[in-house]
Amino acid sequence: MDTVLYEFRTAIRTSNASLLASTITPAPPAHDPGRLYAILRSTNSYSIEADVRYGLMQNNREISLTKARSAAWLDVYIAYYKVVVVLLDAEEKTNQGKLLEADWNRVYEAWKELVTTLIKGFNAGHFEGWTTPCLYVAVRCLREFAIKADEANTRTKGAITFNSGLQDDVVGALDKNDKLEDAARVINRIFGLCISDRASLDESRKWGVYYITNMMFKTYFKLNSISLSKNILRSLNATASDLPNFALFPKSHQVTFNYYVGVVSFLDEDYTRAESHLAAAHRLCPAVPFAHKNRALILTYLIPCRLLTTHVLPTPSLLAPYPGLQQLFGPLSACVRRGDLAGFDAALVAGEADFVKRRIYLTLERGRDVAVRNLFRKVFLAGGFEPVKDGQGGEAERLRRTRIPLAEFAAAVRVGTRADAREGGAGEGGLEQDEVECMLANLIYKNLMKGYISRAHGMVVLSKAGAFPGTGV
């Protein structure tokens, strides 16, 4: 325990937040791999209080903590010791393969005790604003231990038949995510602790708001209650004017926050908002190995998003570093570009399980409109130009044919959906004229195409100034 308290004093004296946070982290630091076992051996549950008290008092002159503050930290380190005891026990049993004996519930409860002690200390004003990163450790591990406890509980429930002697009846009634839901409530309290801090900005817990928010998002996503994220966003919006400028927060907070807001908006079908957040996340996320997976995740949503908002597709060089994304979006993109509707449908079916799992299926399905647009655009291009009239200039002023028979679009749809092959013969195929008109009307309505259908003449009359907005014709 001496080393921990020595580092504690150093951290307090130099206001070193990350060092301070490391002294309550339930994992050994890189330079001291045997730390947790050393703590366990250094004391016992009878003398821990006296030991820590002594360690805090000793040399207190160099850090001059008030009595109340000292007492608050005393509680934290006693709680920390208790965590170490139960954590090492659980880890040992896990490593020995005695999974059912590893008591992660106890670890969770012990850690929650430490977190509660921290919250109390912050509420009472014993801990200064710069120590906020301790809350990051608190929240991060609370979530991790909760997940482990839930996993362990699921496991025991499965094994209850041959191990029922050790279990009490409560376990059976536990929800699958019982601990994680409990953790979410605690994290919510910490969110409140940060956002409501009235101290001046340079000394404020408000700097922790986005980190805690991100942990909240992460927890809600894991719990599959994504809609609850919106409550957090509402509170953030309500206090937006009191928060420091977003760009001043650490980049990791910014990227993660942008990712989650992006995905929440994406699932809400607010693609414009989703795009701006996801694009910001993508821009700020470094292209280094440790961020590789996160970049891939950002792109997983940014790509379908852009297909709908600006109708652009990823280039091979964007996808190249991510074989998974290449597999996910490569075939689909090629079909959109060619206007190959049958290929598009096949790619959608082929990737359905993955698309659904990532919640992008419906969005990609809407991308079919873009494929149809590209197909019809080809019809327009194939139509060539109006005969040049006298007095007209050269190449540049030539007008494309803007009156196109419906039959040509129908033919294109037949090719695009390979209807001929399916129906087993050429000719009218399986597609009704009405269906084609419907597709045309849809595109016109969605502003992917400009013009009108003249049913009386069986013609589509396209705009002379940009029949397919944004595509150069």
Binding site: T256, L297, R306, P314, R337, L381, V415
Partner: protein, 93 residues
């Protein structure tokens, strides 16, 4: 404390341990872990980085392109379409 976890931030520690569990609980544990872990945004091991670091070395590369394509008239699909349109055209006359 497991050797592999030493010096790693806490998040990776969890993963390491899960992998170990997998050896003994292969049948029921593995799939659940990969599914959950798979699409979760990871905690960055570094809190902050400089503006320069966010510059993608491939930033000069072309990352997004238009979804339509004028040039590709050579592939089978384009040929088929041309063919079909010609048929419609000739049947009119």
């Amino acid at each position: 404390m497991s050797g592999a976890a030493q010096g790693e931030p806490n998040t990776t520690k969890a993963v390491v341990n899960d992998a170990k569990n997998g050896e003994t609980m292969k049948d029921q544990q593995k799939p659940a872990v990969t599914l959950g872990e798979d699409d979760e945004f990871e905690d960055f091991p570094v809190e902050d980085w400089a503006e320069e670091d966010t510059e993608d070395p491939g930033a000069n590369q072309h990352l997004w392109e238009e979804s339509w394509d004028d040039d590709d008239t050579s592939d089978d699909f384009a040929k088929l379409l041309k063919e079909e349109l010609r048929k419609v055209d000739s049947s009119k006359r």
